[in-house]
Structures are given as structure tokens and as C-alpha cells.
Symmetry: C2
Subunit: 427 residues, 2 copies
């Protein structure tokens, strides 16, 4: 088996503009396709994923071999692998997306103006979504399924390590579309590992409606810097748990532990605990002891260090870090205000939680913390499209415009005004 | 009276970043201010506008004198002028915005998940809005009022011709805020005519949440090219009226005339009529005659020219033009499909209308025309925040993300997820 994916394409710009133009054409066709037909394509793809498992895995093994040669870490190789279970998960996801309600076409807020004109809104697909992502090949199928269901075309640009696996999955999706009489270009994949492709994608004004970069901070920053089309950013999660003076100590302990250790490597895990000084006694000592038992490294403010001299000093940059690891920063604060100010300064505006039984404190935290998810008495780990009941998610937006927090099918659509008159003229 | 506004400021970047940082601080304070207090500030500003009319007009006369020296057209000078009536209109607008419902704080979609977790959304201000605009000084007050009401701070950058008038209006708004104990920096104005300010505003990541450019196409294109923060674009309106084969001829005639001549200089006036071939007889001849009577220049396709040889030939670029004048392009099409395809190719996706009594044609047009407003049997001139019942508008977005079409108070806010638990932990 040979690596047949080019590292560069002679006229990359023409190639990518051509792909995007085909995707745009497909998106126009798709916007008027019935939900039944879109579902049939999703179910066809699910069946094909199962039937063509062996050939997907053959391509996947190639990526794994190249990855091993390149010295990828075992964790990265694990993320790359399309095991039997992962392919079955992809097939199930396709079936689940088929079962979700289709947001496109919904008409709302239809009101009659004093002159008899009817004005309302109709939900429609965005058009063409450009997705730039890294490593995990199942994102190819997840994103394509959500876009197809909501009537959008997608232009995919995956990470080089997974390129053979990604193309194998994209082709199955394309064949499924064709089998159902839908345009294959609704799922378009940029078949090169050339990094220049990212820059070109960012400037497809008039062809691509929004770029979603999913990956490391530097990828997102590059896209933001280059893009002349709208970007929905998925920045990291520097999430906080604030333990208020009126917290139930037992509940606060459990929430802190869950938020930190249940799955430390994901964006909705907590990175900093803010502890009210009234809770800096037994509660904090027990928490520190339990964190240590669970091999969590603690980096504390000076006051935390006074309570437990074995705690390492937090450097100023610790307050801004997303550790994604068994490390936590701990700061003792004098008040709810100080906690809210700290969060305003250091949070990545992803998810922040308060633990309290004080009504006013809960209400103030909900109102004044400006993050995509704000929680009372719950672990930050719940910040997730599935947990919120969105059915599936395209990612977690840390932007304020258009989509904030977990993005489901609805966030892949927009609303246009529709106006129904009976010969109405403006006076 | 001397021109005391500097053309350049020694350290412009520091000045603008300082202003933006103050605005951001003000936005945090504003987000928790009661609607009553925001309304009191708006009503205070209305009273001050009336009381300080003479001093506003003194500054305005200076701008007018400079404009006359520079040779501004009478139309431009008229737009600049703050007559008694215009200042009264500003005061009334402030009172009207005070009377509108406050969108911030609304909690919706609160649902209980199977595990008992309550998940919903809370509507909150965006934060700091950066507005770049041209000529008309009343925009200063309109935009500031809408931002204040929705809990946002605003960073204003107006056109150089109106700089003294703009500063006079901004200062009255700032004094009104102070009088009510609110931070004056909630209305921040960049007090220089240096064009470099636009570039610097576009890159205030972390300080400004969205940039809204209102003005000519080249201004918007410049902002899109430079911006690393989200942009809500307000592009021009190349609006279409499609007269279907099943149109009521009399209704179609009146809608075409209203859309073209009732106020030709605005973005929601029609620029192109698409006429089904079945309507290319008496209907089109009467329409052409009536347009001529009203001094409208007609630029037609070849088939239109055959019907009336006096019609000037439309050049290919005519189909993409926003004339903003008594000129209209006319094209005969063979079908609804051809009309929809023409609109997809040439419309600026602002407002497009069909005139028909055919149910299927109306439904297809509504669904398949991808513009911010799509109308059946109504004049495109209705595409307006006031006409839609939004109360007031920040502009008309031709973007698909976040806000599409007339932007009211709601579009100056976003929704964050709020999660209410009872000690919930993720399993």
C-alpha cells in the first residue's frame, strides 16, 4: 500500500476554490432537500461504515504506521486508531443524527404588523461550513453528519497524521450521498497535507460562510489572524470552581474532585479552585489531602501555602493555564466579588461554576460571570452538547457571536426574515 | 471658535487601547445595572439634548462650515445638519429606546435533564461594540442609546466631516451617564480624525467584542480585511423584485414602482426587476412607460430591448449594481428557477421579493432565496427595523452569523448556558 496523498498540489489555490465552489453548489441543492432524504443518506452511510470497516482500517493502519515512524506518542496513536468499536461508534452516531429533529425550515415569531404585513423568521442552513481540525478521524464523520442533517455543505481540512483515514471516511460519506441522489460535494475534503491550504481556506469569501477551527490555540490564532470570513472559535477551557462561604462543604468537595479528576484531559475539566476564606479551614485541608491522594499536583496562592506549606507556589501564569492534566491552581479569595473579578481576568470564558447555598450569591454569579456556561452546584464536566440535550455537538464555541457554548444542529443554521404581504406598499 | 480636534495623536494606539479598556470596564459595570437606571440615563440624555440644543448646533455649524469649504455636496451637507427638528428627533429616539423592553437577563429554554440537572439560556449583553460610521451625526446617539439599553458599552468612530457634532452628542450622553451614577466610558468616542484609528480598532481582541462597520463598501472591505475580532457587515442592498407568471399585474406594477421610486437612495430600494416572460407583454410595457414618466432610467436585457427599443442595454455589471438612484435594471426570465438563480448570483442577499398568487412559487421563493429578508407580495422598502416592529435598529446586517437583516436590541445580546444543579457530578 502506498501513500498516495500529495504533500503539495501544483495549483493549490485553484484546487481549493474549485472544491469550495462545488461545495457551494451542493449547499444550494441541499437546502431544499427533504429531511427524509437527508436521513436516508445518513443511514446509508452508517450501513456503509459497517460494511467497509476492513478497507477503512486498512487506510487507518497506514496512518498508524506513519505515525509510529514519526514517533507519535502512544496517546496520539490511540486517538488516531479506528478500532472496531470506534467504527461502530461512527455508524451509531450517524443513526443518532438521523434521529434528531431537523432545525432547517422552522418558521417562528410570525406576527402581524399594524398595516397587516406578516413578518417572521425562517431558519435556514448557513451554507458552506469550513472545518479545520486535528488528529481524531471520527471528527470527519461527526461534522459531516451534523452539516448534512442541517442542510449545509462542509469543506473539511483534517490533520496530516489522519489523512488516509479521513479520506476513507469522507469517500464513504460521498458515496452514500451519491447513492441517495444527493451531490457528493456536500462533503468536500481537501486531499493534501499542504499547510498552505489553511491560509487559502480562510479567504474563501463568497464561497464559504464560516470557518470553524478546532485544535490547539496556535491553530485558532492563525485562523483568526488570516481569516476574512467569519470564524467560530473553539478556544481552550480554563474553567473555575468557586467555593462560596455558604457552600455545603461535602457537596463542594465532591464537585471540585469531579471537575478536576473525573477526566482531566478535556476542556471542561476545572483548572483553578477559588476558595472563600471562610472555607479555608477544614474544607480546604481535606480537599488538598484528597487531591494529593489522587496524585493531583497543587499550585497555590500564598495564603494556601500558609495553610499547607507543602503546596507549591503558583506562578502568575498559572492562573491563565489550561493544564489538561492532574494539576490544579488554588486561590483563597475574600469575597464573591474577588472571585468574579478573578474569573473575568483569567477565565477563558468556557465554563465556570459556583458552589453555594446562598440565593443572592448564586444569582449574582449566574448574571455577572461572562462565560459560555455558568453553573451553580454542578461539576464543570457537564458542559457538553450531549449532557445539555443537544444530541450531538460540532464543538464548544468560546465566541459570543452566533454560537456560545456547545454547538448543536441549531447553531449550524441562521434565521432570515420572511415577509408576507398582500400588495403592501411603503408610504 | 477653533477646530480643537487633532488630526493625529502622538501615541494613537495607546490612546485607543486605553479608551477600549475603559469601555470594557464600563461594560462590566453596565451588565448588572437595572433597566430602570438605564432608562433614567436615556431620559436624562433626552432632556439634555433639548436643553443644550444651542451648543450642539454651534459645534454642528463648525462642521457645516468646514464641509462647505471642502466642497461637500448639498446632499451631504443636508445629512450633516442638526436642525431643530433633528435634535428633537434624537431626544424622541432616546425616549423611545427607554420605552423598549430590555432584552438582557431573559432566561429561556430552561429544561430538566434526565439526571435532574436544569439547563437553560440567559440573554446577556455582548460587552463592547465597536462602531465605525460615516457622516450622519444622529447615528452617534442612536447607536449609543441601543447599546446602553441592552447593557453594552460602545466605542464610536465617526466620520471626520461630523467630528465636532459627534463629540458634542457623545459628551451629552457621557454627562447623562455620570449624572445617573453610571460610567461615562460606556459611551466612548475616539476624538481624532486619524484614519489609522480604524485599523487599530479592528485589532482590539479581548477588549472589543464585535466591530460594526456602517458605510461604503470600501470601508467595510477594509474592516473585513484588517479585523481579527468578529465583524457584523452591513453591505449594500442590490434588491430584486421578481414578477412571477402568476402575479396580479396591478399589484406587481404598484410594488415595482414603490420599491424603485418611493425612496431610491436607500439600501432597501429595488435595483433590478426580474419579469417572467408571460408578463413581458402589456404588464412590462405599462411598467416601462410608468417608470419613464417618473424619470427612471431603464437598463434592460436583450429581450426587454426587443419589446421597447428605447430601453438602454444593460451591461453585465449592471446586474450587480446598487444604483441608489432613479435607475433600474430589467431582465426577462423564462422561469422561477431562472429568477432564483439570477438572485443567487447577483443579489447582495439584503432583500428580495416575489410578486405572485401561486402558492408553490411563493413557498419556493421563500425557502430558496438566501437573503436576509425574503418577501411575498410586498415592497422591498419594508425591510427596516421599525417596519418589522423591532423598535429601532442598529443597522441591517447582510451577514448570516449572529444577526441577519435589521438588527434591534436583541441582536446586541447573546445567550449563555446556565446550569442549575444540586451537587451533580459527571459519571
Amino acid at each position: 500500500m502506498a501513500n498516495d496523498i500529495p504533500n503539495s498540489i501544483p495549483d493549490l489555490e485553484t484546487y481549493i476554490r474549485q472544491l469550495a465552489a462545488e461545495a457551494k453548489k451542493a449547499s444550494r441543492a441541499l437546502s431544499s432537500v427533504s429531511t427524509n432524504l437527508k436521513n436516508r443518506a445518513l443511514l446509508t452511510a452508517a450501513a456503509r461504515m459497517r460494511a467497509q470497516k476492513a478497507s477503512i482500517q486498512e487506510k487507518n493502519r497506514f496512518d498508524l504506521a506513519v505515525g509510529r515512524e514519526k514517533g507519535l506518542s502512544p496517546a496520539m496513536l490511540d486517538r488516531l486508531e479506528l478500532s472496531d468499536k470506534r467504527i461502530e461508534d461512527i455508524a451509531k452516531m450517524l443513526e443518532e443524527v438521523a434521529a434528531l429533529p431537523d432545525p432547517a425550515g422552522e418558521i417562528t415569531q410570525m406576527r402581524v404588523r399594524p398595516n397587516g404585513l406578516r413578518v417572521g423568521k425562517m431558519r435556514v442552513p448557513l451554507g458552506v461550513i469550513g472545518l479545520i481540525y486535528e488528529s481524531r478521524p471520527n471528527v470527519t464523520a461527526d461534522a459531516a453528519a451534523l452539516c448534512l442533517k442541517s442542510g449545509n455543505a462542509i469543506l473539511l481540512r483534517g490533520g496530516s497524521e489522519a489523512i488516509h483515514s479521513n479520506i476513507a471516511l469522507a469517500r464513504i460519506l460521498q458515496e452514500s450521498l451519491k447513492e441517495c441522489g444527493l451531490p457528493a460535494a456536500a462533503v468536500s475534503f481537501i486531499e493534501t497535507t499542504d499547510r498552505e491550504a489553511v491560509r487559502l481556506m480562510c479567504r474563501l469569501n463568497g464561497l464559504v460562510d464560516v470557518i470553524i477551527p478546532r485544535g490547539g490555540k496556535s491553530l485558532i490564532e492563525t485562523v483568526v489572524e488570516l481569516a476574512t470570513i467569519p470564524v467560530l472559535k473553539h478556544y481552550d477551557g480554563n474553567c473555575h470552581v468557586y467555593v462560596d462561604k455558604d457552600a455545603d462543604a461535602d457537596m463542594a468537595h465532591k464537585i471540585c474532585m469531579n471537575a478536576k479528576i473525573q477526566r482531566p484531559g478535556v476542556c471542561n475539566a476545572a483548572e483553578t479552585f477559588l476558595v472563600h476564606q471562610a472555607m479555608a479551614g477544614d474544607f480546604l485541608q481535606n480537599l488538598i489531602a484528597d487531591l494529593r491522594r489522587n496524585r493531583v499536583e497543587i499550585r497555590g496562592c500564598e495564603r494556601t501555602q500558609k495553610i499547607d506549606p507543602a503546596v507549591k507556589a503558583a506562578a502568575p501564569e498559572d492562573w491563565d493555564k489550561e493544564y489538561l492534566d492532574l494539576i490544579v491552581a488554588v486561590k483563597i479569595v475574600d469575597s464573591l466579588d474577588e472571585a468574579i473579578d478573578h474569573i473575568a481576568l483569567h477565565s477563558s470564558a468556557h465554563t465556570d461554576a459556583i458552589v453555594t447555598n446562598n440565593y443572592s450569591a448564586a444569582m449574582r454569579f449566574l448574571r455577572d460571570v461572562d462565560s459560555s456556561s455558568v453553573m451553580v452546584n454542578a461539576s464543570t464536566r457537564f458542559s457538553d452538547g450531549g449532557e445539555y440535550g443537544l444530541g450531538a455537538e460540532m464543538g464548544i464555541s468560546t465566541d459570543k457571536l452566533h454560537a456560545r457554548g456547545p454547538m448543536g444542529l441549531v447553531e449550524l443554521t441562521c434565521e432570515k426574515f420572511i415577509v408576507l404581504g398582500e400588495g403592501h406598499l411603503r408610504e
